[in-house]
Amino acid sequence: MSLPALRLRGLRKTFPKVVAVDGVDLDVAQGEVFGLLGPNGAGKTTTLEIIEGLTSSDAGEIEILGLTWANNGQEIRSRIGVQLQSTSLFNKITPRESLDLYGSYYPKRRSTEELLKLVQLEEKADAYHITLSGGQQQRLALAMALVNDPELVFLDEPTTGLDPQARRGLWDVVRSMKAEGRTVVLTTHYMDEAEALCDRLAIMDHGKVIATGTPASLIADLAIPSVVELTFDGPAPEPGAFATDLGLAVERRADLWEIPTPDPKALLPRLLEAAETRAVPFQQVHIRRATLEDVFLHRTGRSLRE
């Protein structure tokens, strides 16, 4: 049995006005991509910063690759790779220079050429940082997190603010990290990202881990694997009497109603009948599989996106 890549016990951090991290326990195995999923302000970034040694904790134990900050700070720094939420470089430094410079800080390093190829920045290798697009800057930040050939990589919201195409490009880089055998711990508030990338997840809210598991098991645990959606042309009305007729909970969200159900096939005729009776002016009906979004909604009563 190999050592866990990361082990947290009872991690706590209180800021003057808020408990940011409230007793977090985590175990991350070597070689897995582990996600911390939660809305903004859930405590994901603070948790990550404590693990990275940037913020002190008030209480709790942290073991990174079997090492502790108190005894092995420099060794931890040499063996982990970090991408911070906002890594702002000098304006007039090129990707090649950044990678050379940061690489020179480590005892062990990967070649700059190899890293540039990995994140597909060869063509921009000698362009100033300010001329790179948002996606290119984020890819460079990932490459910089890999300069020391780390065993464990931390990515803090790696795709926030990027367009869909740029996000997919970043996902490929994260997958290649896993393929190379690295352990990846990332934070995100995108459920699709968590589903697409993570082997296992911890869902965080208000500084606490409220659920842990693989994306599939988290969804399966819901016991309501499907959701029927009625969409409206404009804001959705109050479900009121319709929900009473149906005898089910109807969530009203922006321009649609969501009705979680274990058996959509049986629900559908009843639903259409009730809609007919109450003259509900819906436009379309969708049936979809439940997502991590529904898991979060179910556990907290709130939406991930807000």
Partner: protein, 352 residues
């Protein structure tokens, strides 16, 4: 090795930053060339006397005017109304008015240096004119020549300004190139990004400090060279003394930057704090003009701030070829400020 890489990278990035290059390298030279040329002359302010016209000019007036001209005193002939207006504007140092049978000389208390010298010449001219009118032998005059001691060429404003700019460069390096840059690094998370690498933080800071030091040396060398080539200003003292004073000032003002950067959360906040320090230092410390005519209490206050005693010692060495012996107190004040700033920096400096 890592330190060298860090230092070399600082220089490379600096060389690409045209704005920083302009303010640190070109701007002081432009100031020196501009002000040095505008205020270029052969020896201090010209002496001139405003001559208020007599209502009925007689031979006595003609004789006096001629004698004034012989003494190479500039005579500004004006009507009484014009002369009063000029006096009210404060432009006149000495005004010669007809008064009964003779004359009266009004001296401007704000311009006593010129007024006093002018008064001496006017009286001399009056003695000459009286002698000429009466046919008596002319009194013999002692020849007068205005000079500045210890200078290669005649005194000019550029030679006063140059040491002032050398000092001002050090202040702006400390407050802006060090202090401002560190606040922005902290604000933009560069320090945090460094903190997750094994690079010891002191190497990063030392690389930065070494870069600023070499920039200061290059900056000073350029100013000295331009001063010498364009205005013929040369260091009159020993270069060792000059270097010692510059090194002390560099340390002091760099420590200021580090200390102040600990008091601001954001770049905007730092801009406010640093300007609060920079402008009084620049305007009151004798960078551009002497403080001899400032109120005595202000001179005392300024002598206790770091830049004025620094400039005083620097000018004594550079312009007058003095040693350091007479400037122990002033340099001690600079060192004390530097030490206080250093201690404050150690206490307040933050990475995040």
């Amino acid at each position: 090795m890592i330190l060298w890489r860090q230092f070399a990278m600082e220089w490379r990035l600096y060389a690409r930053d045209r704005v920083a290059m302009f303010w640190t390298m070109a701007f002081p030279v432009i100031l020196l060339l501009g002000f040095g040329t505008i205020f270029r002359d052969s020896g201090g302010p010209k002496l001139a006397v405003v001559r208020v016209a007599s209502l009925a000019p007689g031979p006595q007036d003609a004789a006096l005017d001629q004698a004034l001209g012989d003494l190479q005193l500039k005579v500004v002939a004006l009507t009484r109304a014009e002369a009063e207006a000029r006096w009210a504007r404060g432009e006149t140092a000495a005004q010669l008015e007809p008064d009964g049978e003779g004359y009266r000389l009004r001296l401007n208390s704000y311009l006593m240096a010129q007024a006093g010298a002018t008064a001496g010449l006017v009286n001399q001219a009056w003695l000459v004119a009286q002698a000429r009118l009466s046919g008596a032998p002319e009194p013999r005059r002692i020849p007068v020549q205005v000079e500045s001691p210890g200078r290669k060429r005649s005194a000019n404003y550029a030679s006063f300004l140059l040491p002032g700019l050398l000092g001002l460069n050090l202040v702006s390096m400390g407050l802006f190139s060090v202090g401002m840059v560190n606040v922005s690094y902290r604000e933009k998370g560069k320090f945090r990004r460094l903190a997750v690498t094994p690079l010891p933080k002191w190497i990063f800071l030392l690389g930065q400090v070494l870069h600023r030091l070499t920039v200061a040396v290059v900056q000073a060398a350029i100013l000295l060279l331009v001063g010498y080539l364009v205005f013929g200003i040369a260091n009159q003292g020993s270069f060792l003394n000059l270097a010692l004073i510059m090194a002390l000032g560099t340390g002091c003002f760099m420590a200021f930057g580090f200390a102040l950067s600990g008091f601001a959360e954001t770049s905007e906040g730092y801009a406010a704090i640093s300007n609060l320090v920079f402008f009084p230092l620049m305007m009151l410390s004798g960078v551009y003009f002497t403080l001899d005519s400032a109120p005595v209490w202000l001179q005392h206050v300024v002598a206790g701030m770091p830049l004025a005693p620094f400039l005083k010692a620097l000018r004594a060495v550079f312009n007058d070829g003095a040693g350091l012996a007479g400037h122990g107190l002033g340099l001690g004040i600079v060192a004390a400020w530097g030490l206080a700033a250093f201690l404050l920096a150690v206490k307040r400096f933050r990475w995040a």
